[in-house]
Symmetry: C2
Subunit: 140 residues, 2 copies
């Protein structure tokens, strides 16, 4: 468990800790091509550096925001593929921006319904709960 060149390289558990990512998820992201195959020690241990931390943080953040793995792979291709023109990158960025905005609209719609139904709620022990009624009634 040496092979540490300096404080700048880390192993899988340390990368997991620093990103609050599950240990196995790192391997999963590697298997599915989102994280690069990291260099290995002579005995086969993965070694990571700061670039892996930021890439993993990006992935986790995007996942948290509801991007699918496939979409994130798209975003990451922008990063990885240096042959793209700025115009292409802009296009794809704007497409993702549109996705994000659509998602916000969706969530705001949900927020509205939840807020309205919760507001109607008396909090008393009545059998007719407006929340349940709202959920069973026809969609807006």
């Amino acid at each position: 468990m040496t092979d540490y060149v300096s404080g700048r390289t880390l192993q899988r558990a340390e990368l997991a800790r620093r990103t609050s990512c599950n240990l196995e998820t790192i391997r999963y992201y590697e298997k599915t091509g989102m994280m690069p195959d990291p260099p290995r020690t002579a005995s086969g241990y993965r070694i990571y550096d700061d670039s892996h931390i930021s890439r993993l943080r990006f992935i986790l953040r995007a996942r948290e925001l509801g991007f699918s793995v496939e979409q994130i792979r798209g975003l990451l291709t922008l990063v990885d593929d240096g042959t793209q023109t700025c115009a292409e990158v802009k296009d794809r960025t704007e497409q993702h921006l549109a996705d994000v905005r659509a998602k916000i609209v969706d969530l705001q719609r949900i927020e509205k319904v939840l807020a309205e139904t919760a507001a109607q709620c008396s909090g008393k022990d009545v059998p007719e709960c407006p929340v349940l009624e709202a959920l069973t009634s026809e969609l807006p």
Copy 2:
């Protein structure tokens, strides 16, 4: 395929059609205890009525609003027990509302980043694209 007592009973495909639910999903909800085991014809065909329609609509609606199956099971227990207080339902709804709002804030933050970086983009064929730099850097 008779056994129809009147226009008030329906089979699985009809229930699916009326709720825009996938046929197999109904069986899945039954298996996982969200939908009750329906009565059957002599030959084993499931038969449903209006109560099944509203329960299934409730489930689908709640799923659409982002409640997990586990959370919905919780809501349904409140309904089924009859002992539910409106306050309990309100609590759970507001908890979920808080989750949704947090998600919106997150998305608005990434929206800002994406919009700003896309706006900086010249669209020309320059190798140094500001979007790529923004994507790889730390998210605020």
